[in-house]
Amino acid sequence: MHEQGKSASQMDISRKNAKDSVDAEIPDETLLVLYANGDEDAARLLTQRLTPKVFGHAYRLLGDRAEAEDVSQEALLRLWKIAPDWRQGEAKPSTWLYRVVANLCMDRLRKRRSVGLDEIAEPVDGAASAVETLQNTARMDALQNALGILPDRQRQAVVLRHIEGLGNVEIGQIMEISSEAVESLTARGKRALSAALAGRREELGYQDDGY
């Protein structure tokens, strides 16, 4: 029997919203155990939840969409493979993934450097950003370019801290360094970024915003 005043479709939507909210409360680690037990719904939920995080991080480290997609797929494939042997309580799946993504990205960045300057891809895909009319795109490209000139570890620490919003302790676990070392890396990274962006306030449209 339907609740009074609610159509069947409204009931379906309510049920779906309730299910989504329950799904959102299930920790990644629990879903990974369910996945290891052969649960396909867990596979779908983990894919929806983790792929954007993994891809976003890879993109910020590499500045290249196609490469970031390849790295994301590879990192998640490693997670699927390790799932049956996952040691619960040691690290969050997202922490583990950030570490794998960083390692895969560093490998690619090293290979890029070894192929010579002429063959290096533009740090930001969509090199036509100079002619983009959207200011936000220009701002994001400016940030991505500035990130691209940082040493790899500084870039990783800055992205994890200031874009992914992680705390120093978790970043330390991901990078396998102390919280103090994380603090030092992010501070140096920010100084270098500020220097790289110095004098570009007007170009990026910040001159009228009190900056």
Partner: protein, 124 residues
Amino acid sequence: MTDIKKDDAVLEALFEAAIFDTPPPSDRLMDRVLADALETIPTGPEAADKRSGVGKLGLFGQIINAIGGWPAVAGLATATVAGVWIGIYPNDVVSDVMAQYSGDDSDLYLVDISTSIGSLFEEG
């Protein structure tokens, strides 16, 4: 505001914008990742056993499951402790019941462990 402070403020604004402006993964990537997940998903008897809650439990785990899981183990432990307690410090009801079985003339033979252990400590 000094130039350095202005540059820092610009950087903070860019970080804030980047949090909300990180490009989403393409549908193609989502499909590829899910395809990998479903292709790699553990199947077969072991995963089925895990789904049904049995399988790689080991002998101890299987024994615990056989007697009803951890609640049953807790019950057994409580009963054991209670039995030891009654054995050491029997109350009148226990003594009376035992007397009915063994006859009024017989005394119960009780072992006073606490005294024995105490004397051990005293002797060093």
